[in-house]
Amino acid sequence: MKRTVPLLITALGGFVLIIAYFIPRTQGWGEIAAIWFDVLASIAFVLGGGNLIKIHLKKVSDHKSGWGYSGITLAAFIITLSIGLGKIGVNPNIQFPTHEWSGSYREIGTPFWWLYEYVFKPLTATMFAMLAFYVASAAFRAFRAKNIEAILLLGTAFIILLGRTFAGVALTAWLPEWLSGLKLENLTVIIMKVFNTAGNRAIMIGIALGIASTSLKVLLGVDRSYLGQSKE
């Protein structure tokens, strides 16, 4: 029963939406389903938030390794939530000056804006910027001319790395006009447009068919392992 009901809902929802795509009368149903999902996911936020507090409080109280980080997580969670929900420090909207909560929490100068501008923004930008360091270390370790394919890959990498900067232009600027196709910046465009596009299309077609087949398996109840086990 615990598995049959979700399977029935999945199958019914999935097939109805597939058919609805072809029937004008029911074409709005997909949007309704998407809204239902958003509502469910929003309610699940509460579940997630509760779980976060529980797990980290437990870590702090048990003094597990890294419990200090849990303390910071909890403090950040509570501070941001209360400032955002309580609209602390927000000026009222000009149209409704007597209503304290009528202003926008994103307004420049508010505590929430401050948290966003000076904490959230630099932190996320830092995490993203770390990619540059990891790319360098991964390239050093992984790019090895082990066989013909790897050599081709290496050659392509060099062309793209050079062609995407002024170095590529400067290195092959001496090539005459009739050989302009061999200039690194032009070779980069050819590689991206022809070889990359062809390869990507093949992968995309495979993925699209994989998605269709997996979705069908889920709808038909053939694959129910995501619900916990392969057979009832």
Binding site: K121, T124, F133, F140, L161, M192, N200
Partner: protein, 286 residues
């Protein structure tokens, strides 16, 4: 030396990368740019619009990718404002509105103070639902957007009164860092309405290879990462005389560190392969 490089602690590589990015920044190293066809076509499409045309700017990125996408978003805003286009800003990412506010502040408030909110530009803000939002607004804006980002009713905004759907836009400009972004705009807006919706985009470096299959039919213009932004900045700068305004040259400025970082990567790959072949040789000998 061989042993040191072979078993190098990756923190040395991190240090090299740090230096290769920070030194060009400190020395303000800059190189000339040469625009590619895609940058030209992006520039030409916007340039060919009549003043007063409607342009939807969807800024689907966040602070994390602002370093890569911020410069092109700024230049897109400048180009549209300088052409006298009506700008409708929106975002599919929760922090997109902040990206929009930054551009409005940086470009419109400072360089086009005569532009009027609601008549020349409007910030429609963020709507959750990713591609679901696109699917709805391609046929009906009002179903999702009842107000702008500040709570003014959609129909009370003069420039929104004649807008029913994305099909009423003369151009869609999307700046995207991933999902939902350019791919979804192409799939759910341009593909179903190829004659009515025209789009150009700017995206991160990793996304660019995935968008090439859509060029040129569904996506006639694409700016890939900082390189694309720098080329576009150069074209807009030449046309509108922005060569002495640093805020519109951010992409070109950032290409300096990028060049040195790319050279470092090539150097590292070569060193890695030298070690690899020396190892192979040693194995062969033993």
């Amino acid at each position: 030396m061989y042993e040191f490089i072979k078993n190098i602690d990756r923190r040395w590589i991190f240090l090299l990368m740090f230096l290769s990015v920070s030194i060009p920044i400190l020395l303000q190293l800059q190189f000339p740019e040469k625009a590619t066809d895609l940058a030209y076509s992006t520039f030409d499409i916007i340039e060919s619009l009549e003043p007063g045309s409607n342009v939807l700017l969807s800024f689907d990125f966040d602070p994390a990718s602002e370093g890569e996408l911020g410069p092109m978003a700024t230049t897109f805003s400048y180009h549209c404002a300088a052409k006298g286009l009506k700008m409708y800003y929106m975002a599919l990412w929760p922090v997109g509105p902040q990206m929009i506010d930054d551009r409005i502040d940086m470009v419109i408030h400072s360089d086009f103070p005569d532009m009027v909110y609601g008549e020349d530009y409007v910030n429609l803000g963020f709507k959750s639902g990713n591609e679901g939002v696109i699917k709805v607004i391609v046929t009906d804006f009002r179903e999702l957007y009842t107000t702008d980002a500040y709570g003014t009713a959609f129909d009370d905004i003069p420039m929104c009164q004649d807008i029913y759907s994305v099909q009423d836009m003369d151009l869609v400009i999307n700046v995207s860092a991933g999902y939902a972004g350019t791919k979804e705009w192409v799939q759910y807006a341009v593909t179903p309405f190829p004659d009515k919706i025209k789009m150009v985009a700017g995206c991160t470096g990793v996304q660019a290879p995935l968008l090439y299959p859509y060029i040129p039919d569904q996506l006639p213009g694409l700016l890939g990462a900082i390189k694309g932004a720098a080329e576009y900045e150069m074209l807009v700068g030449e046309r509108y005389g922005l060569q002495d305004q640093p805020k519109y040259l951010e992409g070109i400025r950032r290409m300096g560190p990028q060049l040195v970082a790319h050279l470092l990567m090539i150097f590292l790959i070569i060193v890695g392969n030298v070690i690899f072949f020396m190892d192979k040789k040693k194995e062969g000998q033993s």
